[in-house]
Symmetry: C2
Subunit: 186 residues, 2 copies
């Protein structure tokens, strides 16, 4: 089973991180807008079971992604099933129509501008995302996708890279949780 091992950190500004990534030889990709629509399950409370189902639009591309419960207290390690859908916004609308017909309802939307870099660290290729999230601010995410047997080693690798990049105060809540908490406060 494949696991997504992930750490996320709020940052005041991204420029310092960009500098440290450049020192590590990483190239930072162009900015891409990601629009994620999250769905509530017709019979399970995903907020309680710590699962998620989302349709992501990334440029013209579409994806349907299921995330299982987090299996770890400090990182955001999860079982993830991420499946490409055919492209174009119209297709995303059809898929959201199918989910609605099955009783899934929209739980919230997260819109962000993301740049990516890949860093070689401790023999692994870590994906680094520099995120500017609407209404939430700026964050850095570190991610590895590994088999379950390697989840612990992957966590150690991410923690080490985070320290090197001077990233602190890991945020375990998802962007969706943060968006919904903020909406509750407003």
């Amino acid at each position: 089973m494949r696991y997504e091992v992930e750490m996320k950190f709020p940052v005041a500004e991204l420029a310092a991180i960009e500098g440290r990534l450049a020192e590590l030889g990483a190239t930072i990709s162009a900015r891409q807008t990601e629009v994620d629509v999250y769905f509530a399950h017709p019979a399970r409370d995903f907020a309680r079971t710590d699962e998620a189902l989302r349709v992501r639009r990334k440029g013209r591309a579409n994806f349907l992604t299921y995330k299982g419960p987090k299996v770890d207290a400090t990182t955001k390690t999860r079982h993830e099933i991420d499946l490409p859908l055919p492209p174009e916004e119209e297709t995303a609308e059809q898929w959201m129509g199918l989910l609605a017909a099955l009783g899934f309802t929209v739980a919230g939307e997260v819109r962000k501008s993301r740049r990516k870099a890949h860093v070689a660290w401790q023999g692994r290729r870590v994906e680094v995302s520099l995120d500017e999230v609407d209404r939430l601010g700026t964050f850095v995410e570190l991610e590895l996708v590994v088999d379950s047997a390697e989840a612990e080693a992957a966590k150690t690798c991410l923690a080490s890279l985070a320290e090197h990049l001077k990233l602190e105060r890991s945020e375990r809540r998802s962007y969706l949780e943060l968006v919904l908490e903020r909406a509750g406060r407003d």
Copy 2:
């Protein structure tokens, strides 16, 4: 909203129908195997709500299809959302894994060999399927996909073509229902 208007007829053998289709100028396609896996909903009894969700493998191609309740007593008119998935059997397995993670369980499997023809009838292009269904026998299906405003006219068209083809005793139950009934008897 798009509706699938469909009539299905059990037949003792397909040769006579093939002859009548040829007289109407229709070309019959090569045989293709369709393997349909139907899913039960985690919170709704699809047998009671008269809905269906299925993954279809047709050669290398895969589809995810939702069928809403029948809206008519004699035909099998339904709201249908039929979405292509990326190809290959491995992809179909991944999608079935996603459905399982969301709490959908396998309700049954229908395997058939299908040949198709298209017939011009009363100004419409009717899709005719000649089906040999594992464990159930041979059937002819007539189908039109139309907007809701045209559903009545489409039904009239199919009934007229059925009469011309000497098809009788319309079967309103789905192949899945017939397979499950048969399994209950065995």
